[in-house]
C-alpha cells in the first residue's frame, strides 16, 4: 500500500473553498467521514462565507452612486487639475509681486555652466522615456520601498520620491541612468517619472554631486522646460512639457520633499 500524504489544515480549508484536485478531494472526504468532529468544524467554516455574503447582499445589489462612475471620476479630476494650476499660478504671482526673497530670490542668478550637463541629461532622459507607454520605468511605484532603497543605494544618497499628488502627478516609478559627465561621475543618476493619468508626464532627475549650490537654473528646449538646482549633494532637475508655473510649483514640492526626508531620519 502506498503511504498517503497526511491531511493538513491547508487541505481542509482548500476543501471548504473547493480548491482541491479531484483526487485529493476524495482523500479529504474519506478522512472527514471517519472524523465527524472535523467535519462539523468544516461545516461551520463553509457557512461563514454565505452568512457574510447574506449580510452584505443589500450592499452588493444597491445601485452605485453616480460619483463612482468612471466618466464622473475623470471629469472631476480634470476639474481639480485645472483648479490646482490656477492656484499654483496665483501663489507664484503673489511670490513675485510681494517681492518675497524666499527660495525664488536666489533663482536665475550665478554661474550656469555647471548645470548645463545635468539639465541636458535630464532633458535627454525625459525625451527618451516619457513617451514610453508600456515601459516608462524600470521599477514601478507599487514596489515603493524597493524603489527607494534601490535608488538610494545606487546614488549613495537617501532619495525618497517626492509626492507631487497635489499637482495631479502620481509617481509611476523610476530608473537608474548613467550620470552626465562632470566632476562626479562615479555614481549613476536616477530618474523618477510622474504621470497625470492622461499622458502628461513629469520627471525628477537626481545626480550625485560633491558640492551644494542652491541657485535655480531654468532651461527651455522646444516646449520642454527644466528647472535645475543642487541640494543635499545632488543636482536635481525637474523636467516636463508643462507651463512654467506648474514646473516651479513641482520644483518647490520636490525641494520640500527632500527637506522633510532629512528631518525624519
Amino acid at each position: 500500500m502506498i503511504a498517503s500524504i497526511p491531511i493538513g489544515d491547508d487541505d481542509l480549508h482548500a476543501y471548504v473553498d473547493r480548491r482541491l484536485l479531484p483526487g485529493r478531494m476524495a482523500e479529504v472526504e474519506a478522512y472527514l467521514g471517519s472524523h465527524p468532529d472535523q467535519a462539523e468544524r468544516l461545516g461551520s467554516y463553509a457557512g461563514q462565507g454565505a452568512i457574510l455574503a447574506a449580510a452584505l447582499r443589500t450592499k452588493l445589489e444597491e445601485p452605485i452612486p453616480c460619483r463612482l462612475r468612471v466618466a464622473v471620476i475623470l471629469a472631476r479630476q480634470r476639474q481639480r487639475r485645472a483648479g490646482q494650476a490656477a492656484r499654483a499660478a496665483a501663489v507664484l504671482l503673489v511670490a513675485f509681486t510681494s517681492g518675497a526673497a524666499g527660495w525664488l530670490g536666489h533663482a536665475w542668478t550665478g554661474d550656469r555652466s555647471g548645470f548645463q550637463a545635468a539639465a541636458q541629461s535630464a532633458f535627454a532622459a525625459y525625451q527618451t522615456f516619457s513617451v514610453e507607454v508600456r515601459h516608462p520605468v524600470e521599477v514601478r511605484a507599487e514596489d515603493g520601498a524597493h524603489l527607494q532603497q534601490w535608488l538610494s543605494n545606487r546614488l549613495q544618497r537617501p532619495l525618497t520620491p517626492p509626492n507631487l499628488a497635489s499637482l495631479g502627478y502620481q509617481l509611476i516609478g523610476g530608473r537608474v541612468l548613467p550620470a552626465a559627465s562632470g566632476p562626479a561621475v562615479a555614481t549613476p543618476a536616477a530618474q523618477l517619472m510622474y504621470d497625470t493619468g492622461n499622458g502628461g508626464r513629469l520627471t525628477v532627475y537626481a545626480q550625485p554631486l560633491g558640492v551644494d549650490a542652491e541657485e535655480f537654473h531654468y532651461v527651455k528646449q522646444g516646449d520642454v522646460r527644466t528647472v535645475v538646482w543642487a541640494e543635499r549633494r545632488m543636482v536635481i532637475a525637474v523636467t516636463g512639457r508643462v507651463p512654467q508655473a506648474t514646473l516651479v510649483e513641482a520644483a518647490r514640492l520636490v525641494s520640500n520633499g527632500l527637506e522633510r526626508r532629512q528631518a525624519i531620519p
Binding site: D9, D10, H13, A14, V16, D17, R19, R41, S44, Y45, Q48, G49, A50, I51, L52, A53, A54, A55, L56, R57, T58, K59, L60, E61, E62, I64, P65, C66, R67, L68, R69, V70, A71, I73, L74, R76, Q77, Q79, R80, V131, E132, V133, R134, H135, R140, E142, Q170, I172, D195, T196, G197, N198, G199
Partner: protein
C-alpha cells in the same frame, strides 16, 4: 559595411499603421468607455468589501472613489485583464490600511462632489435588516487581518494566490491567517448564538 546599417532590427519594426508597437494610438489613449467597461462591473464588489471593513456607507464609498481614481490614473499599470480584480482590491486594501493609520485624512474630501452624501448614502441602511447589522458588528470584532482574509476568500471567492497578492503576504501566511480567522469567527458566532435568536 554600409549594408550593416540597412538592417532594421526586429524591435524597430512598425505595425501596418506605421506606428511603433508601443506608440499605437489605441495604446496611448483608451477611451472613457473602454475603461468604464472593465472598471464599472467591479464596483459593486469593491463597495461591498469597503463597506464590510469600514461599516459606514459614506466612508466606504469614499474609499472606493479613491480606489477608482487611483486605478484610472495608473490604468496602463493594471496588467492583464484577468488580474484586474486583484489589482483593484490591492489598491483598496492599501488605501484602507493607510487610512486606518492616518484616520483624519478621510475628512479632506473634495467639496466638488455634487452628490449629497449623508442623507443619500445612509438611506439604504434602513433596508439592512437588524440581523445583517448585528452580524456585521460581530464580524467587526475580528482583527482587520482576519476580516480581510475571510471576505476575500469566503465572500469574494478569490483564489489563495490572488489573496496573497492583494494583501502583500505569502500564500502560506494567507493559509494560516485563514485558519485562525475561521476559527475565531466560528467562536464569535457560536458564543453569541442566543443573541442572534433573540434578534430574529
Amino acid at each position: 559595411m554600409p549594408q550593416v546599417w540597412r538592417v532594421t532590427p526586429a524591435w524597430r519594426r512598425v505595425d501596418q499603421a506605421g506606428w511603433p508597437a508601443t506608440r499605437h494610438p489605441s495604446a496611448v489613449a483608451p477611451t472613457i468607455s473602454d475603461i468604464a467597461a472593465l472598471l464599472e462591473p467591479q464596483i459593486p464588489a469593491l463597495r461591498r468589501y469597503a463597506f464590510a471593513l469600514a461599516r459606514d456607507h459614506a466612508a466606504a464609498d469614499d474609499l472606493v472613489q479613491d480606489c477608482l481614481e487611483r486605478a484610472v490614473n495608473r490604468w496602463y499599470l493594471r496588467g492583464p485583464d484577468a488580474q484586474l480584480r486583484a489589482w483593484l482590491f490591492t489598491i483598496l486594501h492599501n488605501l484602507f490600511i493607510s487610512a486606518q493609520r492616518t484616520r483624519r485624512r478621510r475628512a479632506l474630501h473634495d467639496a466638488l462632489d455634487q452628490v449629497p452624501n449623508a442623507a443619500a448614502s445612509t438611506a439604504p441602511t434602513q433596508e439592512c435588516s437588524l440581523a445583517s447589522r448585528d452580524m456585521l458588528e460581530r464580524f467587526g470584532a475580528l482583527s482587520v487581518d482576519h476580516q480581510e482574509v475571510l471576505l476575500l476568500v469566503g465572500v469574494e471567492g478569490m483564489a489563495y494566490a490572488s489573496v496573497a497578492r492583494v494583501l502583500g503576504i505569502p500564500v502560506g501566511t494567507v493559509m494560516s491567517r485563514l485558519s485562525r480567522a475561521r476559527e475565531q469567527f466560528r467562536r464569535l458566532l457560536e458564543g453569541e448564538r442566543p443573541v442572534l435568536r433573540r434578534v430574529k
